[in-house]
């Protein structure tokens, strides 16, 4: 199922040529050249494929920018919607990649669509790969922004290309610097999964791990949020109204009234009854009075003082139907806020569809 075509088309040689036929006005020639070359190297790094650029004649992968009817039977659709397409390996149009120049392509900024990311995906098709159902995979059909400077080909895509062409057989010239482990999309049903955060939003429960929420990557849900994540996010706080960032954010944690010694919050919980937000920081927690808009006095307190029996670090917290759930490691501890009694210890995928 990793092949784009039923007849499992692939290049019969590992030496593949490419040619850039024209350019988009959105970027400089050098930026397009660099984006295309880096996008091909994504695949070369994990396979025996090697790419050579030619400047005239017919290359295996002919790369061009066009709009609407651009010479094949698959017209583009104007801004957004379809960003690009590519053809599986073969003669003539086989392997070619076409980019919709009604899109706004970018080199490194988060404006528009990042050409490196779109091209790396399309070249997966040019090499014979089909779309993946893994929302964290490069070959997932929907565009999602990740910082190109820290891009690492996900495990699902490495498996796909190596299923077709095998691994990269070159000896690593820097054995002391092994390649980074390909990132895998978190498995919601992995019993050892440790969640980063949980929350409720408009009646939905959301479970966060890395750049993912339960079923899709964060940037598909909060697109403009992740684009600003490049700065160290620990000591900052964003406010969202629905899926939109509230103007004036991010702000520093101190703006919430937390002391300057706090530069990372492990978990946050809003208690409906008392209308207070609890911030868990290491073994302590602070209480913020939403009505009075200020931190409560007498804090921080030790977590196990407010939640008897909660002796390990709280990594996530939320309330469901009046019960409070504190996550720690791969367990979830259920509390009654009224009696502060620990009622149950559950696996942390208790609310997940496993």
């Amino acid at each position: 199922s990793r092949f784009t075509t039923f007849d499992n088309r692939k290049w019969q040689t590992n030496q593949v040529t490419y040619r850039i036929e024209n350019y988009t006005p959105d970027m400089t020639v050098a930026e397009v050249d660099n984006s295309i070359e880096r996008a091909l190297q994504v695949w070369a790094k994990v396979s025996p494929l090697r790419f050579t650029r030619i400047y005239s004649g017919i290359a295996d992968i002919m790369i061009s920018f066009g709009t609407r009817n651009h010479g094949d039977s698959y017209p583009f659709d104007g801004p957004d919607g379809t960003l690009a397409h590519a053809f599986s390996p073969g003669a003539d149009i086989g392997g070619d990649a076409h980019f919709d120049d009604d899109e706004s392509f970018s080199f490194s900024s988060t404006r528009g669509y990042n050409l490196f990311l779109v091209a790396a995906h399309e070249f997966g098709h040019s090499l014979g790969l089909s779309h993946s159902t893994d929302p964290g995979a490069l070959m997932y059909p929907v565009y999602s922004y990740t910082d190109p400077s820290t891009f690492s080909l996900p495990r699902d895509d490495v498996n796909g290309i190596q299923h077709i062409y095998g691994p990269n057989t070159d000896v690593n010239p820097k054995p002391d610097k092994p390649d980074p482990t390909p990132p895998s999309t978190p498995n919601a049903c992995d019993p050892t999964l440790v969640l980063d955060a949980v929350t409720t939003l408009r009646g939905e429960k959301m479970f966060f791990k890395g750049r993912y929420s339960k079923s899709c990557s964060l940037d598909q849900m909060f697109s403009d949020l992740c684009n600003t994540f490049s700065v160290p996010a620990d000591s900052q706080v964003w406010a969202l109204y629905g899926y939109d960032i509230v103007p004036g954010y991010p702000r520093n944690l101190k703006s919430l009234g937390l002391p300057s010694t706090v530069n990372k919050v492990d978990a946050a919980l809003y208690d409906e009854d008392s209308r207070k937000t609890l911030f868990f920081v290491d073994d302590n927690y602070y209480s913020y009075d939403e009505a009075m808009k200020r931190m409560d006095k007498g804090f921080p307190k030790r977590v196990d003082e407010g939640f008897p029996g909660m002796t390990s670090k709280v990594t996530a917290a939320f309330q469901v139907r009046g019960f409070t759930y504190l996550y720690s490691g791969s367990y979830m501890f259920e509390y009654s806020m009224r009696t502060r009694r620990q009622l149950r210890v559950l696996r942390n995928n208790y609310f997940l569809p496993c």
Binding site: T4, H85, H131, V142
Partner: protein
């Protein structure tokens, strides 16, 4: 509140989307047939591909997914 039916615009968008990416073809044969229509089966196929709740109908989550910027290559092998 009863779920509002998809707008004409969303219906048209879905038709184009399913033809382009899930190989929806023109319905042929008798106008009525037992069992879900080809269109409903294709919506279910798309929902399954993207891990959405499989309803066979154009609910809001499905239409939202159809509107996301994406690659133009089909999701099923033609």
């Amino acid at each position: 509140l009863p779920i509002s039916p998809p707008s004409e615009e969303d219906e048209a968008l879905a038709e184009t989307y399913l033809k382009r990416f899930f190989n929806l073809t023109e319905e042929t044969g008798p106008a009525f047939k037992r069992g879900p229509s080809q269109r409903s089966r294709k919506v279910s196929e798309m929902q399954r591909f993207f891990g959405l709740q499989v309803t066979g109908t154009l609910d809001a989550e499905t239409v939202t997914m159809m509107k996301k910027p994406r690659c133009g290559v089909p999701d099923v092998q033609l």
